[in-house]
């Protein structure tokens, strides 16, 4: 496993690989969104080919000269980047702490990053906490419990679920073209239908009796009824949305809050999680529902990055490469994670 650590002089809140046109192609570019800085920004980085070199201790290490990420371009943003996604390979959407949502375009020819569109004041109290994109729609959720669904070319939101959640919403994901799922700070996973006439969720599932916050959620790429969510107690909770409301199983993976959780897109038996305790771990499971619900399951947990001394805020995986970003203003690029 080749690993490369770079100090970027910015606290990174979100890090994302730029999507490639095919799944086989290795992504060579990624974006970072910063926070808690005097001047926040979204930056595009290029990573070279990571070659493994055998050093004198006979361990394979990354050839740092060639594989250190290089800054390509950046764009100043007036607020902490709380949520960031590549809507497609040229458009990045970001939800900010100021309550605005920004749409930034990456010009591939001139290697520039420009703000193309922005929606102001969507979340006046607490700001936006996460964003998801399913073009031409963009959804933003906030600490005020509001969900806004916007269209890429329209200034006014298409649909708003105003204060539909009593508590701050922590993450949002598109399940399919008309359904969303969100997590909040009292441990609830909710499913919303965009077309629904009322402002209430279609399903509410509670992950624990003790109101432990859920921080992140991701959907299984092929078995779309499986949702995995990470909580403030370091547990990964798996839900089967075909069934009743209680979670399928709960696994203690980390010691502290799990900030981000991702299924691997092409090898969905892997889940990657990063946590406040500073580590990145990988779960390997076949996700057989029967086995899981009975408790006797074959889940392997391995540690990809040991506790690094400060919170690991975000991660993204593409192919065999993983990116993770910490509160110590550093970025890890790790190869051969699966």
């Amino acid at each position: 496993m080749a690993e490369c650590l770079t100090y970027v002089s910015q606290k990174i809140h979100k890090i994302r690989w730029k999507p490639t046109s095919t799944t086989i192609q290795k992504s060579e570019t990624f974006a970072t969104g910063s926070y808690e800085d005097l001047a926040n920004s979204i930056t595009i980085w290029g990573v070279g080919h990571m070659t493994g070199v055998v050093n004198q201790d006979k361990f394979e290490v990354a050839d740092l000269e060639n594989s250190q990420p290089r800054r390509q371009c950046c764009c100043k943003i007036p607020g902490d980047v709380n949520g960031m996604e590549f809507a497609n390979s040229e458009i990045i959407v970001a939800g900010l702490s100021s309550g605005a949502v920004y749409l930034v375009r990456l010009e591939s020819q001139s290697q520039e990053l420009n703000v193309q569109f922005n929606w102001e004041n969507l979340h006046p109290y607490g700001g936006s906490t996460d964003i998801a994109a399913n073009l031409p729609e963009i959804v933003s959720v906030g600490e005020d419990g509001t969900i806004h669904i916007m269209r890429i070319d329209s200034k006014r939101p298409l649909r708003t679920f105003a204060h539909s959640d009593s508590c701050p919403i922590t993450q949002v994901q598109y399940l399919n073209t008309h359904e969303l799922c969100t997590t909040n700070t009292v441990g609830q996973l909710r499913i919303w239908d965009v077309r629904s006439p009322t402002d209430a969720p279609t399903r509410v599932m509670s992950s624990s009796e003790t109101l432990v916050a859920l921080r992140c959620v991701d959907q299984h790429p092929t078995q779309s009824y499986i949702l995995a969510s990470g909580g403030s107690d370091g547990c990964v909770t798996l839900f089967d949305i075909r069934k009743e409301c209680s979670p399928l199983t709960k696994l203690q993976i980390h010691d502290e809050d799990i900030w981000e959780l991702r299924f691997h897109r092409t090898s969905p038996s892997y889940i990657f999680s990063c946590s406040e305790d500073g580590s990145v771990r990988r779960l390997n499971s076949s996700f057989e529902m029967k086995a899981l619900s009975l408790g006797g399951s074959n889940i392997d947990v391995s540690e990809l990055v040991p506790k690094c001394g400060s919170s690991m805020n975000s991660l993204d995986v593409s192919g065999t490469r993983m990116l993770c970003a910490t509160d110590a203003e550093s970025v890890y690029v790790i190869d051969d994670v699966i």
């Binding site: 002089s9 808690e36 109290y125 009593s166 922590t170 209430a200 109101l211 001394g309």
Partner: protein, 650 residues
């Protein structure tokens, strides 16, 4: 007590139109900043009207010492934090880190300094215009690395007697590439034919020799056209001396005495050859041989080849007394300082290095604090030396521990910037006996800009047992949510903080809202409270009331009715909510099936009577509301009486 030094005071002029008639006032902010403003309080006399409306009123933020926020400084802060925490954790595990561990940590720090310097240099060389700020930073980092490496050799490595000079010679070689510059010039010269013709040829050889690089001197000498290996030739003679110069290496388990004997033997041979006239034919070689003999006069002649007194000191000692011990070094410093202009010519760097040579650790730290623009170096150096038992416990008048004092100063310089708060927390956690006290104070000043940040700060407080601060943060977040009318969020914070009294206030508020509007604002939270609902009576009541609504919606009327009765009979409901509760009975009473039997209906009538007697509930209502209320109560009484009749009959 030192007088404030007016020569060193920083001045800044604040421009503000209002200040023509008003005084300048200022208030301290956290970290190194002030807020200045024109104040209307003083100076405004009776004659001069306080007319400030014509000019806009400004707040001026003045700050200084912001260099810790440049990109390279941020890298330094974050990388060195890891090493610092590593040192403390090692100390916790094993009581005191071993010398080799301390050396490893010291080298980590140095490599961080070096990589920062390299990055700055890349930027400097890459930019088209001359950047004075970058150059200053480069100087600072290279100076810090120089100081650190010397301190590492003298204080941390603290090699056994006889070997320190070899390390110092290495130190000179790496940090003062004077000789390499000369050599490079010689080799690059195209217009001189061969390197030996270059005017810098002999200076290159002399400086190489002064840095103890005998094999390289031999290489250079071979380039001279007159070089031959015949016997009795001056070149051959000097080549032999250079080849045979003994170099002390403690890896070869040679004792100091053995080496000294060998060296003396070699030294005598050098002197013999010099006085024997071996080099009389070649004045340059004569100079070279005088260097090898450790001739004091040569020092004076070659002054311009040395950059500084410390390089001179090390070269001289290398050829005069190579087995000198660390404690004896400072005896020789005065002579060399005098050659370079004496004490008055000493710059800040000179003073720091001089203190190091004198083995005066506290003086080194003091000088670093005074002259370097950043607290980084003295803090981390003092911390490492603390574990060598070299840092004295107190130098400040208040008697605080040196290391603790420096850590607090360093963290103050960082606390200007919001993004460094986790770094500050880490450093304060390890600053000594008052760690928790400082942490408690700092944590209360972290701006809680979002729920996620509050969660992170709470996590850190919980890890360190700062429970009072956790409560305080929960309270702050709760009040913030209340201000924005986010009752559900506020309730979730109450639950987290186990604050049952405030939970009661929120539950009561929710109930009032329902009584007024007929709608619950936060059903989605209340329905899923789980066991937290037992935290406060009002909350429990609220939960049960919601259960009643759910039962009614599910058409389980009998169960709903029983629950409602329970709520009223058990007197758990707040009195001003009773009208609502009783009105909820109405639809149940109007159903065809009998929900309440005789006893139950009697109980309900009794409740109604109690309500009638409590006039104060109706006091807060308007005329119209009171009329409506009375009508409703009449209607209810009628329905209850009918129900009683039905119950008795059936």
């Amino acid at each position: 007590m030192e007088e404030p030094d007016s020569d060193n005071a920083n001045e800044i002029v604040v421009y503000d139109l209002l200040m023509e008639h008003h005084a300048l006032h200022a208030h301290w902010q956290s970290g190194h900043s002030l807020m200045a403003f024109a104040s209307t309080d003083t100076l405004a006399s009776v004659d001069q009207p306080r007319d400030v409306s014509q000019h806009p009123i400004y707040l001026h933020e003045i700050h200084w010492n912001r260099e810790m926020h440049s990109p390279v400084a941020r890298k330094l802060v974050n990388e060195s934090r890891l090493v610092f925490v590593g040192v403390q954790q090692q100390a916790e595990i094993s009581g005191k880190p071993t010398k080799s561990q301390l050396l490893k940590f010291s080298r980590n720090y140095r490599s961080i300094l070096q990589s920062c310097f390299m990055e700055l240099r890349q930027k400097f060389e890459g930019s088209e215009e001359f950047d004075e700020e970058l150059e200053k930073q480069m100087q600072l980092y290279s100076m810090m690395e120089l100081i650190w490496s010397l301190c590492e050799i003298l204080f941390i490595e603290n090699s056994p007697d006889g070997t320190v000079l070899i390390q110092l010679v290495e130190w000179c070689k790496w940090h003062f590439p004077v000789a390499d510059d000369y050599v490079r010039l010689c080799y690059n010269a195209d217009d001189y034919g061969s390197p030996a013709q270059h005017p810098n040829y002999w200076p290159a050889i002399y400086t190489l020799a002064l840095q103890g690089r005998t094999s390289e001197v031999r290489e250079m000498l071979k380039l001279h056209p007159a070089f031959q290996t015949q016997e009795h030739d001056p070149f051959a003679s000097i080549d032999e001396l250079l080849r045979k110069m003994p170099i002390f290496s403690y890896h070869q388990s040679q004792s100091t005495n053995e080496f000294e004997m060998k060296w003396r033997h070699w030294h005598d041979e050098c002197i013999k050859r010099f006085y024997g006239g071996d080099f009389d034919t070649m004045p340059n070689l004569k100079t070279l041989s005088r260097i090898l003999c450790g001739d004091e006069g040569i020092i004076q002649e070659l002054t311009e080849l040395y950059g500084s007194w410390y390089q001179m000191l090390i070269s001289y000692l290398y050829f005069k007394n190579p087995t000198i011990s660390v404690s004896e070094l400072h005896y020789h410093t005065k002579a060399f300082i005098d050659i370079f202009g004496g004490q008055s010519e000493l710059g800040p760097l000179d003073r720091i290095l001089l203190a190091a040579f004198k083995f005066d650790v506290s003086q080194v730290i003091r000088e670093c604090c005074k002259h370097l623009g950043t607290w980084w170096l003295p803090t981390h150096l003092a911390d490492l030396l603390h574990y060598c038992d070299l840092v004295p416990l107190s130098i400040t008048e208040s008697g605080t521990n040196v290391r603790e004092h420096l850590i607090v100063e360093y963290t103050s310089s960082l606390s200007n910037f919001d993004s460094f708060w986790p770094v500050v927390v880490d450093y304060l956690s390890f600053c000594g006996s008052l760690s928790n006290h400082y942490l408690g104070l700092f944590v209360q000043r972290i701006p809680l800009s979002s729920e996620k940040k509050a969660a992170k700060v709470i996590r850190i407080c919980e890890k360190r047992g700062l429970l009072k601060e956790v409560e305080s943060i929960c309270r702050q977040m709760k009040m913030k949510s209340m201000q924005h009318n986010r009752l559900g969020t506020a309730l979730s914070w109450c639950i987290k903080a186990n604050d049952s009294s405030f939970a009661m206030i929120i539950a009561d508020k929710m109930l009032k809202e329902y009584a007024r509007t007929g709608l619950f604002s936060n059903i989605d939270l209340i329905d899923y409270l789980g066991s937290s609902v037992l935290m406060s009576e009002s909350l429990t009541f609220l939960g049960k009331y919601r259960d009643f609504h759910k039962l009614y919606a599910a058409e389980k009327f009998k169960d709903a009715g029983q629950l409602l009765l329970n709520l009223l009979m058990s007197r758990k409901a707040p009195l001003d909510f009773w009208p609502s509760l009783l009105m909820d009975c109405l639809p149940l009473l109007e159903r065809n099936n009998l929900i309440y039997d005789v006893e139950e209906t009697t109980g309900l009538l009794a409740c109604l009577n109690v309500l009638d007697q409590k006039q104060k509930i109706f006091d807060s209502m308007t005329e119209i509301e009171r009329e409506n209320q009375e009508k409703k109560m009449k209607h209810l009484r009628l329905a209850l009486t009918n129900n009683l009749a039905k119950a008795i009959v059936s």
